[in-house]
């Protein structure tokens, strides 16, 4: 089977979002998760620019340049939404009021260390944004990333090689070929893409894996990527 595409990864994460929770979705792949939360759920999507209750993307004629999320996307508000200023928004984040934040990452270590802000591109300025606040203080930090780098190297490691975003913060990792949690004993595998053996998953991972007793197949619907 093919590795999950980013929409299938978003679908998979969406299945684990609980009703009634407050979630913050990182730029890039994670924002797609909200499309796969069951429609009858009341999930409050917080965006760190102060929107409490982000709705779907705005249609072209409803787009308002003042109604944007932290990724500059023109969005709508859900019923029950409100908007606060940045100081209040980060007070909410840092104060532990976000149930789950879903972040992209470059690397995750088996102790939960996260590296997702500085991939050392020459000459480019640094960009940290709200990642460190979210990673340090959300009640749960879930990472969504491809299992391996473009060159095939591991992103799940015994220790991060890139600058850290926060220490010991990641609780779960959703990749294109597996679902794992971070435990005091390191990475624990819950789901593997059919066709990938435990040995292959271990070869593609830079830290020792343990497999949950109920480890099962990682299965998602077919979801086509939009035409480029």
């Amino acid at each position: 089977m093919k590795p999950l595409n980013r929409l299938q990864m978003a679908w998979r994460v969406g299945q684990d979002i609980e009703d009634g929770t407050v979630v913050n979705l990182g730029l890039g792949m994670p924002v797609g998760v909200s499309d796969y939360v069951p429609h009858d759920y009341d999930v409050v999507v917080q965006s760190e620019n102060g929107i409490i209750g982000v709705g779907p993307l705005a249609s072209a004629n409803a787009a308002d340049s003042d109604l944007v999320d932290a990724g500059s996307r023109k969005v709508t508000l859900r019923a029950g939404a409100t908007i606060i200023d940045s100081a209040a928004s980060f007070a909410m984040i840092r104060g532990g009021h976000i149930d789950v934040t879903i972040l992209g990452a470059f690397e995750v270590a088996s102790n939960g260390d996260l590296a997702n802000w500085d991939n050392r591109i020459p000459d480019k300025g640094p960009l940290v944004g709200g990642a460190m606040d979210l990673a340090a203080s959300a009640r749960a930090v879930w990472v969504m990333m491809e299992h391996n780098t473009r060159k095939g190297g591991p992103r799940l490691l015994e220790a991060c090689t890139l600058p850290l975003t926060a220490v010991r913060c990641v609780k779960r990792v959703y990749t294109d070929i597996a679902v794992l949690s971070v435990t005091p004993q390191g990475f624990l595998v819950h789901e593997i893409l059919p066709g990938i053996s435990r040995e292959e998953l271990q070869r593609r991972t830079g830290a020792p894996l343990t497999f949950a007793p109920d480890c099962k197949d990682l299965v998602t619907p077919d979801i086509a990527l939009p035409e480029a």
Partner: protein, 224 residues
């Protein structure tokens, strides 16, 4: 004599911001940039500014014009990376050459330090950035089993912020996500100038005011 904070021109609105000033600029993710005032500041031309702005490079802000004009000595921000695939931003060009100073802070620390300056708090402990390069050299202390970093407040000489509606007392409303850093920056700066869409001849009703005019010194009515 009635309070009247309106100024007739953008030049009058930014008058007095001098060399070496620390200037705060609101705006995030495309909303809330006081670009008319930023343009007037570029015309005014003070040198050796320290900018306190979330992004050194956002394509919808005119921050880069101040940087490209060589007016900026230092930027305090949470994002200093241009998204322009075709090359480096004005900031990145100067940064590469070592001609501009940079202080990068996590966004929550950035805005909490601004809020702290406006709230009379010189320093506070935060869990954010503990164990990372951005906490290097900063004091760390453990409270109840968790480690925290000591961060200092960031006061400003001037703040240029964008809002929606103003009245003559300087009370402001904000549209949607335009609010972002404006309220905190207004509390933290000695001279606060708000660029607004429209002016209300009657007082903004008390329960609709989003930032008290106590924090606002000058108003420029700039339209949409």
């Amino acid at each position: 004599m009635a309070i009247e904070k309106r100024r007739a021109t953008a030049a009058e609105a930014v008058a007095g911001i001098g060399d070496g000033a620390t200037v705060m600029l609101s705006g995030f993710a495309g909303a809330g940039f006081a670009n008319r005032l930023v343009g007037a500041l570029r015309e005014l031309g003070p040198r050796n500014l320290t900018l306190v702005v979330n992004s050194a490079t956002h394509r919808l802000s005119n921050t880069h014009e101040l940087i490209a004009a060589g007016m900026v000595r230092k930027v305090i921000c949470s994002a200093a990376r241009g998204h322009d695939k075709s090359g480096l931003s004005a900031f990145e060009e100067l940064y590469k050459e070592g001609r501009i100073e940079l202080e990068v802070l996590p966004q929550g620390t950035f805005v909490e330090s601004i809020r702290a300056a406006g709230a009379g708090i010189p320093a506070y402990f935060t869990p954010t950035a503990f164990g990372t390069d951005l906490a290097a050299g900063k004091e760390v202390r453990n409270f109840d089993g968790r480690d925290y970093v000591l961060e200092k407040s960031i006061p400003g000489d001037a703040a240029l912020i964008r809002a929606d509606l103003a009245d003559r007392w300087g009370n402001l409303t904000f549209r949607h996500a335009q609010m972002n850093f404006g309220p905190a920056m207004a509390t933290a700066s000695k001279l606060v100038v708000a660029e607004v869409r429209a002016f209300s001849d009657t007082p903004i009703p008390p329960e609709q005011v989003m930032l008290s005019g106590v924090f606002v010194d000058r108003i420029l009515v700039a339209g949409a």
